[in-house]
C-alpha cells in the first residue's frame, strides 16, 4: 500500500534576484518497506526534495503540490503536526555527520533526546535505550560512548550515531541524504550495508539520495533520476539498470567507475566518461528539455517541453526521443 505519494511538487526559493524554481513537478510514490533511490548531480534538486518531505525547507522556500503521507498532506500540515511526525514517523540522516551532530552535547544525550521527545521517556530510560540503539548500529563500546562527545568519534562512528538517532522511534520512512558521501571509502560500504540491513529489519521505507548509481543498485527497489529539478526517469531499479531510457541516465551510467576498474589504483582504471557541459543555471533554465544543451541526441524538437513516455511497467522517462536511437 502507498505510504507516501508526492504529487506535482514544486519548490521555489526566493532570492535577491527573484524567485528561482529548484524543484519542478516532481512526483513519486513509496510503499511500506519499499526503498527508493533519488539519483542526480549536485544541484539537481534532490536534497530540496528530501527537505520538502521532512518539512525542513529553508524559510525562503515556497512549495506547491502535495506530499501525502498516509493520506495526510504534509505541505498543508501545520508546524506542530510536523514536529510530532519528524523524528517519530519521518526521520532523516544527513550527509555530513561531523556538522550534523551538536558538538556540545554528548552522543548519548543526542540519541536519548528523540526518545524523551516522542516517547515521553525519562532521561535514564532514554539513555538505556540509546545504549541499546548504539549497540544496534554497531558502535563499539556503546555503553562508554554514551558520555562521549562527537569530536571523540571517527566519521563512520558519527554516522552510526546519526543512524541510531534517526531510527530511535522506528520511523515509517527514513530519508538518507548522501549518507556515505562524506565518509572514507572503506567505511562507506559498511554504513550502506548497515542502513540496508536496519531498513529491512525494522520494516521501514527508505528514500536514499545519492549521486552514486552503485549505491542505488545495491540498496533500492526503485530509482528516480533527477536532472535540473525534474524527475527525468523513474522505474524499478532492475528495469533501469537493464534499459536506461533517458540520455541523462545513460550518461550517468557511462560516468560510473566500472567494476573492472574498481581497484582504484592510479593508472589501472580507465579514464571515466563525463557528461559534457554544466548543469543549467536554475535562474535561467533552457526552454524545453533542460538536458538538451548537454544531450548527444538533442534535435530541434527538444527545445519544446518533453513528454513523459512509458518505457515499461511503471518505468517512465521524460524525453522526446525515447527509443529513437539505440
Amino acid at each position: 500500500m502507498t505510504l507516501l505519494a508526492v504529487e506535482g511538487l514544486n519548490v521555489t526559493l526566493a532570492t535577491d534576484a527573484g524567485p528561482v524554481a529548484v524543484v519542478h513537478d516532481v512526483g513519486f510514490t513509496l510503499d511500506r518497506r519499499e526503498t527508493l533511490g533519488i539519483v542526480g548531480e549536485s544541484g539537481c534538486g534532490k536534497t530540496m526534495t528530501a527537505l520538502a518531505l521532512m518539512g525542513l525547507l529553508p524559510e525562503a522556500a515556497r512549495t506547491a503540490g502535495r506530499i501525502l503521507f498516509d493520506g495526510e498532506d504534509l505541505l498543508a500540515a501545520d508546524e506542530a503536526r510536523l514536529c510530532s511526525l519528524r523524528g517519530d514517523r519521518l526521520a532523516m540522516i544527513f550527509q555530513e555527520p561531523t556538522t550534523a551532530l551538536n558538538p556540545v552535547h554528548t552522543v548519548g544525550h543526542q540519541v536519548a533526546e528523540v526518545l524523551m521527545l516522542h516517547r515521553d521517556m525519562a532521561e535514564t530510560a532514554a539513555l538505556a535505550e540509546a545504549r541499546r540503539l548504539l549497540d544496534m548500529v554497531g558502535l563499539p563500546r556503546a555503553a562508554e560512548r554514551l558520555a562521549a562527545y562527537p569530536h571523540q568519534l571517527s566519521g563512520g562512528q558519527r554516522q552510526r550515531v546519526m543512524i541510531a538517532m534517526a531510527l530511535a522511534c522506528k520511523p515509517d520512512i527514513l530519508v538518507a541524504d548522501e549518507p556515505t558521501t562524506a565518509l572514507d571509502v572503506t567505511v562507506q560500504a559498511q554504513i550502506l550495508d548497515l542502513i540496508g540491513e536496519l531498513v529491512r529489519e525494522l520494516g521501514m521505507a527508505l528514500v536514499l539520495i545519492t549521486h552514486d548509481l552503485g549505491v542505488v543498485g545495491q540498496v533500492t527497489d526503485r530509482v528516480a533520476v533527477m536532472y535540473a529539478g525534474r524527475v527525468v526517469e523513474s522505474g524499478p531499479t532492475e528495469a533501469i539498470f537493464a534499459k536506461r531510457a533517458h540520455p541523462y541516465t545513460q550518461g550517468l551510467f557511462k560516468a560510473r567507475p566500472s567494476h573492472a576498474g574498481q581497484g582504484r589504483a592510479a593508472g589501472t582504471a580507465a579514464r571515466l566518461a563525463t557528461i559534457p557541459g554544466l548543469v543549467p543555471d536554475p535562474r535561467s533554465p533552457p526552454p524545453g528539455c533542460a538536458f538538451a544543451p548537454r544531450c548527444p541526441h538533442a534535435i530541434e524538437i527538444c527545445r519544446r517541453p518533453p513528454p513523459l513516455v512509458a518505457i515499461g511497467e511503471s518505468h517512465d522517462a521524460l524525453c522526446h526521443r525515447v527509443g529513437e536511437w539505440t
Binding site: L85, G87, A100, L101, N102, P103, V114
Partner: protein
C-alpha cells in the same frame, strides 16, 4: 580536563607576573625623581629627601620590585601620600562601590542583551529584528553620561524616586546605597547591552545556520526548542568573550559615570590620584586593574572549556 586548567592557570600566573614587571618598569623609567614629582617642583629639598626616605627610593630597584610584589601577596600596599591612609584601605573602600555597580550593570546587560539578541535572531529580517536593532543602534550611539543625566532629570528631579547622586555607604544605609547604584548601573547597562545584543544576535544567527540545528529540527524539536537547546550554548562563545571585556571595563571603574553620579568608585580614585600625582596609589591601582582584566580573561577561558567540550582535550 584538569591538565587544561593547570596549563591555563600557569599561563595566567605568568601573565600576571609579566604585567607586574611592565607596570613597575614603566613607573620606574618615568623621567624625574618620584618624590620630586609627587611634591611638585617648588618643594623643599628636605621634604623631598624625607619622602624619598619614606618611599624607600634609596634601595635597589629589584629589592623594591620584590617588596612591592610581596606587598600584594600580604596585603601590605604602603600608604597613600595624599590621603595618608594605607592604599589597601583606600582601594577596598572604593571597590565597595565599583564592584556592586559593575555587578548590577553586568547583570542588567546580560539579561537585556541575551533576551533582545535571541529575540532579534529568531525574528531575523522581520519587524521584531528591526525594532531591536534600531534600539541597539540608539544605545550604542548615545553617550552614557548623557543618558545618565536624562535618568537623573526624570527619576531624581521630576519624579523624586532616587537621589541625584552620592553614595551613603553600605554600613550606614544598605538600601539607599543600592538605590544610589541603580541609575548609574542602568546608564552603563544601556550601552553595554546594546553592544552585547548585537553580538548575541549575529552569533545566534550564525549558529541557526548550522547543520546540527537542522538535525535538532529533524528530530521533531520546534524552532524555538532547537534554538534554546541546541543553538544557544554554541552561540555563547563570542557572547562570553564580549561579556568578559565588558565586565573588565566596568570593574575598572567608569570615570565619567562615577563623576556624573558622585560615586566614590575606583575610577574616581585613579583620576584623583593621577591629578594629585600620588604615584604610590597610581601604581597599585593600575596593577589591580590589570590583574582584574587578567583574572577575568582566565575565568572566561575556563568558561570556554565548560561551554565547549572540544576545548577540554589538551592540545
Amino acid at each position: 580536563m584538569s591538565a587544561v586548567i593547570v596549563r591555563r592557570l600557569l599561563a595566567f600566573l605568568a601573565t600576571l607576573l609579566a604585567t607586574s614587571i611592565v607596570v613597575f618598569v614603566v613607573l620606574e623609567v618615568l623621567p624625574g625623581d618620584p618624590a620630586q614629582v609627587m611634591l611638585g617642583v617648588d618643594a623643599e629639598p628636605d621634604a623631598v629627601a624625607r619622602l624619598r626616605e619614606k618611599l624607600g627610593l634609596e634601595r635597589p630597584t629589584t629589592v623594591r620590585y620584590f617588596d612591592w610584589l610581596l606587598g600584594f601577596a600580604t596585603g601590605n600596599l604602603g600608604e597613600s601620600y595624599t590621603y595618608s591612609v594605607p592604599v589597601l584601605e583606600l582601594i577596598v573602600e572604593r571597590l565597595a562601590v565599583t564592584v556592586p555597580l559593575a555587578l548590577i550593570a553586568m547583570l542588567l546587560t546580560t539579561i537585556i542583551a541575551l533576551a533582545a539578541g535571541v529575540f532579534a535572531a529568531a525574528h531575523h529580517n522581520r519587524p521584531g529584528d528591526w525594532g531591536v536593532m534600531l534600539f541597539a543602534q540608539l544605545g550604542i550611539a548615545m553617550p552614557n553620561f548623557w543618558f545618565g543625566i536624562l535618568l537623573v532629570l526624570l527619576f531624581a528631579v521630576t519624579l523624586g524616586w532616587f537621589n541625584a547622586g552620592g553614595f551613603p555607604g553600605w554600613e550606614d544605609d544598605a538600601l539607599a546605597s543600592f538605590q544610589a547604584l541603580l541609575l548609574p548601573a542602568v546608564s552603563l547597562a544601556i550601552v553595554q547591552s546594546a553592544i552585547l545584543a548585537r553580538v548575541t544576535r549575529s552569533s545566534v544567527l550564525d549558529v541557526l545556520r548550522e547543520d546540527y540545528v537542522r538535525t535538532a529540527r529533524a528530530k521533531g524539536l520546534s524552532k524555538r526548542a532547537a534554538l534554546w537547546r541546541h543553538g544557544l550554548r554554541n552561540a555563547l562563545i563570542p557572547v562570553v568573550t564580549v561579556m568578559g571585556l565588558q565586565f573588565a571595563f566596568l570593574l575598572s571603574g567608569t570615570i565619567i559615570i562615577e563623576n556624573v553620579f558622585y560615586l566614590p568608585g575606583l575610577g574616581r580614585l585613579i583620576f584623583q590620584s593621577i591629578s594629585q600625582r600620588d604615584l604610590v596609589v597610581v601604581k597599585d591601582v593600575v596593577m589591580l586593574m590589570v590583574a582584574k582584566v587578567v583574572i577575568i580573561n582566565f575565568v572566561i577561558d575556563l568558561l570556554y572549556v565548560v561551554i565547549d567540550p572540544r576545548l577540554r582535550t589538551a592540545r
